[in-house]
Amino acid sequence: MPVMPDFELLRPDSAEAAVALHASRPASRYLAGGTDLLPNLRRGLADTATVIDLGGIAELAGIRVDADRVHIGAGTTLAALAAHPGIAAELPALAQAALAVAGPTHRESATLGGNLCLDTRCRYYNQSTPWREANHYCMKLEGDVCRVAPKSKRCYAAFSGDVAPALLALDAEVDIVGTNGRRTLALAEFYHDDGMRWLALDRGELLAAVRVPLAPGWSSGYEKLRIRGAIDFPLSGVAVALARDGERLAGLRIACTGVSSRPERIEGLDALVGQPLDDAALAQLEKLVLRGIQAMETTTASVPYRRKATPILARRLVTRLWTEAA
């Protein structure tokens, strides 16, 4: 349906009230900036009777820089995130990733929380109802078969948020509010590798804030592969946090987006720590990145290309950060 379906709109003023409203209404959704949710509603991707606008919750706003960590409310806009001088200086990967999302007007309303909770994406899913009907639907919604991997029991729709890999590389954690109270998770545990159930949020749970440790001596960055320079989801995105000690690598974390159903922390990089970053190490790094991703035919760019390009992107970024840290 090209037209916006009818729904009830609520605007609670606390996280607890939001959670309670969510629990009391069956088909309800949280609305932050709406830049993902609203197009999806228009396309008939979400059966929604109630929309709960998080914009009135004071707790979700604001960035606070403490001695050893940065606290970012989930309602912070990506424009504010990218423009924050402390974040640009201390956590460049985060600022770069926020700036890589969509276009300037989107970033004015798009939030960090919405970006981290972004629905997974697939060329067979992010389409209108008539399109999906004409293409016989798929497992993620209304169909039985996955069009990308017809024999698969699971959906491979890709997580394509730009900011999550930066936060993974920066070792962030998230604060969650639910009907049973509050809890904290490492961001890596916030995601499942499943295109249909990619968030570790229980029904009605709300993402309240993100906390990022400040790590002196580390540098970071974000690189994104896309066809055009703006308003383009990542074909692949790579975030790197790196520490250098003279001619040796003192620490390395890499995370990717757009190439699996969750943002992927690349495993096995510890083997490179303590070594010089020579050609052999870079080749090893490329292998580890390739092993850690699972690109599927979810975008119009092909799988071989995204598989080939992701390690190359990682190498480009790691080399740059390594050189700059000298």
Binding site: V3, R123, S128, N135, R228, G229, A230, T300
Partner: protein
């Protein structure tokens, strides 16, 4: 000692070549403009179309009962209601179909109180289809056992074109070097920011008023009438401001008769407006083609022949797309001195979306091939491509094999200007030498050029325009002209010309050009013709008015009209520029004197071009022009990303009229060409468009626009207004092969099927660099020495 010269008042300041703002710019920039998409008429209903959503099928049964009964629904129409109302270039189309021939075939249409109700009604229509095997490429359609798409067109054969000149066998024998390649220009679409929209209303005398985005209002009536079974004279066309057209509104497309059929059925105005997804699926495409081109030359780099064997993917119906060979053959035969030519083209029906006209009209596809082959031949001859181009370039006064008379030809000047400005020859050598050196990022520079009609194209019986010019008692001027404004800036040009001729301020000129019941005939906005044709028409009308005014003023002032002129709102004396009387006073006196007269003149201008004709040997345009683009790029050889660092443009514009409009047209044309070259691509799989949205259809955005270095070459066209030529298609035509040649210069790879996406480029570079025996494909540069 001579006295120091002061600015002489006898030298008239001219507006020609100045930067003049489009009159509608403030309204557009502030959001005040009411586009057709914004329009709401009293009592208006919303029309929605049910698309087939499958490429080829028989319609077994349609049940509209439930939809008819839905409260708020006023009409439901299907193919049964329009069975014999065929329209289109070869009468192969109908507003609502009785058989499915492509994904976006219109099966039923609903008019309802609101869009929501109309959408719900569409969901209630039950259609049973029997799917048929489809044809998804022209090669497949041409096979003997191919499924038939139209009963009336056996073998799926649509239009065919042919042009031959000279002795091919002899020319081939005389050729020491020949390049032979197959190019596959792809499907792209216009992406107008305003989606397709029409509002139709019938009065009780059976007269239709249609508000539409058309760019050819007069022939439009003739084309729309058969789809409704009415007389063309009973149609009034009103053109509100539009959000782009670029050729996509140069034909009648089914949503327009659908709006009219629904309006007739309901007796109420009906608006049909596409969503972005519908726009992607249902608006015309650029014609996709398979071009087998061969070009030969001698060892010293003199062209000997060019052949093109073209297969066009007609799509399901015939609009303007398959007629592009008319222009393709002009470039094939007439770009550079090509003594022997063999051109043939055949369009084959397929179950793909169908093509219409699109800025560049066939020349985008042809130049993609010719300009790359020029580059390849230069390399084989082993001379600088610039020199190779110069050696074969025509000069003023030459005539092409199709009899295009290049009266003022500035090709050499364009080549030299662009090459000098960009330091082309030095950079090309330097980058080629670094091609196989270590390093991930490679720089490249590439040159391409083309020719295009620049004074209309007489493919209809007439290429003329009617103009009415009137002045009121306050010296305000109204120009009533057939020239349509679709964003290209004819409003600014006409205003400028009137101000130039009549010495009135730009703001005192009003344009009326959007109502077929008011404005006189014009063939439409196409073929880079409007500034040329309407500019001439306006100037002629303004000069008639001026003569009338000066005659009257001369009588009042007891002067001779030859000694008078109009400047800055007054009648002035030619010799010293002295203002003698206010223009508005003259006009009032003329109006109120004993023998009253009003200034209201008419003009009909028909350019001195020859009709295209079946043999295609005619001087079909009143002028021709050339452009040279030089692209400088950086390639990431690992990811295949191309960054365009700079584009140098040298274009023969005849004479600059409105400098700002000219710059805007070149920038905008380049943006379309860059998208074509690098990222835009309709992904059509088995007739189904997979990327019907801006997320996956990669229209370029502001960050991809490179810095431009524009050079306007003024060749002073004898036929053009003040010497101007038409300019607006060449910028779209030339850029893609310039980038392709730069890519070759940087990396040694050639891409034959646009777009040059990172993926394709990375693969091509990988294959070129892969070690021998690894199964890597050889670069397809095929040279044969005789």
């Amino acid at each position: 000692m001579q006295e120091t010269a002061t600015a002489s008042p006898t030298v008239k300041e001219t507006l020609i070549g100045q930067r003049v703002r489009k009159p509608d710019a403030p309204d557009k920039a502030t959001g005040k403009t009411r586009y057709i998409n914004d329009m709401v008429l009293p009592q208006m209903l919303i029309g929605k179309v049910l698309f087939a959503g499958r490429p080829h099928a028989r319609i077994v049964r349609i049940d509209t009962g439930a939809a008819q009964k839905l409260p708020g629904v006023h009409a439901v129409l299907t193919g049964k209601d329009v069975a014999e109302l065929r329209f289109g270039f070869v009468r192969d189309n109908v507003a609502l179909k009785d058989k499915v021939r492509c994904e976006h075939d219109e099966i039923a249409a609903v008019a309802a109180e609101t869009e929501e109700i109309a959408c719900r009604a569409l969901e209630l229509i039950e259609v049973e289809y029997e799917d048929l095997p489809g044809v998804f490429s022209p090669e497949a359609g041409a096979r003997e056992d191919a499924p038939q798409i139209h009963d009336r067109f056996p073998g799926n054969k649509s239009l065919a074109f042919e042009f031959r000149h000279g002795d091919l066998a002899a020319a081939e024998a005389a050729s020491e070097l020949i390049v032979d390649n197959v190019f596959r220009p792809h499907h792209v679409t216009h992406c107008c920011m305003g989606t397709s929209c029409a509002i139709a209303d019938f009065d009780h005398n059976g007269k239709l008023t249609i508000w539409t985005q058309t760019q050819y209002p007069y022939n439009y009536k003739m084309d729309l009438a058969p789809a409704l079974g009415i007389h063309p004279g009973d149609i009034r066309v009103i053109q509100p401001p539009v959000g782009g057209a670029f050729g996509s509104k140069l034909d009648v497309y089914p949503y327009e008769p659908i709006a009219a059929l629904l309006a007739r059925k309901t007796g109420r105005p009906v608006k049909v407006m596409y969503s972005r997804e519908e726009e992607f699926k249902a608006s015309p495409t650029r014609q996709a083609a398979i071009i087998h081109m061969r070009t030969g030359c001698t060892r010293d780099g003199v062209l000997t022949f060019r052949t093109a064997d073209v297969l066009l993917d007609n799509g399901a119906y015939t609009s303007w797309g398959p007629t592009i060979p008319v222009i393709m053959m002009r470039t094939t035969s007439g770009h550079y001195r090509v003594p022997v030519v063999d051109f043939k083209a055949q369009a084959i029906y397929t179950n793909n979306p169908y093509a219409g006209s699109f800025r560049g009209y066939g020349n985008v596809q042809t130049t993609w091939a010719t300009a790359q082959q020029m580059d390849m031949l230069a390399e084989m001859v082993d001379i600088d491509p610039l020199e190779f181009h110069l050696k074969n370039a025509q000069r003023s006064g030459e005539v092409t094999p199709q009899r295009s008379f290049l009266r003022e030809c500035a090709l050499v000047e364009c080549l030299e200007t662009a090459a000098t400005a960009s330091d082309y020859s030095r950079k090309r050598k330097e980058y080629a030498a670094l091609r196989d050196a270590p390093g991930r990022y490679k720089k490249g520079i590439g040159l391409a050029s083309s020719i295009h009609n620049a004074g209309g194209a007489k493919i209809h019986k007439s290429d003329g325009i009617g103009t009415i010019l009137k002045m009121d008692d306050y010296a305000r001027v109204t120009v009533i002209t057939g020239a349509s404004e679709i964003g290209q800036g004819i409003d600014a040009v006409i205003t400028l010309i009137v101000a130039e001729e009549l010495g009135v301020p730009l703001e005192h000129v009003t344009l009326v050009n959007n109502d077929s019941d008011v404005a006189p005939w014009d063939v439409g906005v196409h073929a880079s013709r409007t500034t040329f044709i309407a500019g001439n028409g306006t100037r002629r009308a303004a000069r008639k008015a001026k003569a009338q005014i000066l005659n009257a003023a001369a009588k009042m002032l007891e002067e001779s009209p030859e000694d008078l002129d109009l400047r800055a709102g007054s009648v002035v004396r030619n010799t010293d520029g002295a203002a003698l009387i206010k223009l508005e006073r003259v006009l009032r006196q003329m109006h109120f004197q004993a023998e009253p007269e009003l200034v209201m003149v008419t003009d009909y201008y028909e350019p001195k071009s020859e009709p295209e004709g079946a043999a295609h040997v005619s001087d079909h345009s009143a002028a021709y022009s050339h452009a040279v683009h030089i692209a400088e790029i950086t390639v990431d050889t690992l990811t295949g990303e191309i960054k365009v660092d700079k584009v140098t443009v040298a274009q023969d514009v005849g004479r600059v009229i409105n400098r700002m409009g000219l710059e805007g047209q070149i920038e905008g044309g380049l943006a379309i060409g860059l998208g074509y070259a690098l990222s835009e691509d309709m992904r059509i799989e088995n007739g189904m468009l997979k990327n019907a949205c801006f997320r996956d259809y990669k229209l370029i955005t502001a960050p991809e626009m490179p810095p431009l270095d524009l050079h306007f070459i003024e060749s002073h066209c004898a036929e053009g207004p003040y010497g101007a030529k038409g300019i607006s298609e060449l910028p779209t035509i030339v850029i893609a092969p310039a980038i392709a040649n730069a890519l070759y210069n940087a990396t040694g790879v050639r891409i034959f099927d646009p777009p040059m996406s990172p993926e394709k480029v990375a693969r091509a570079i990988f294959e070129r660099c892969a070690p021998a025996g690894s199964g890597a494909v050889e670069p397809r540069l095929a040279g044969t020495a005789a």
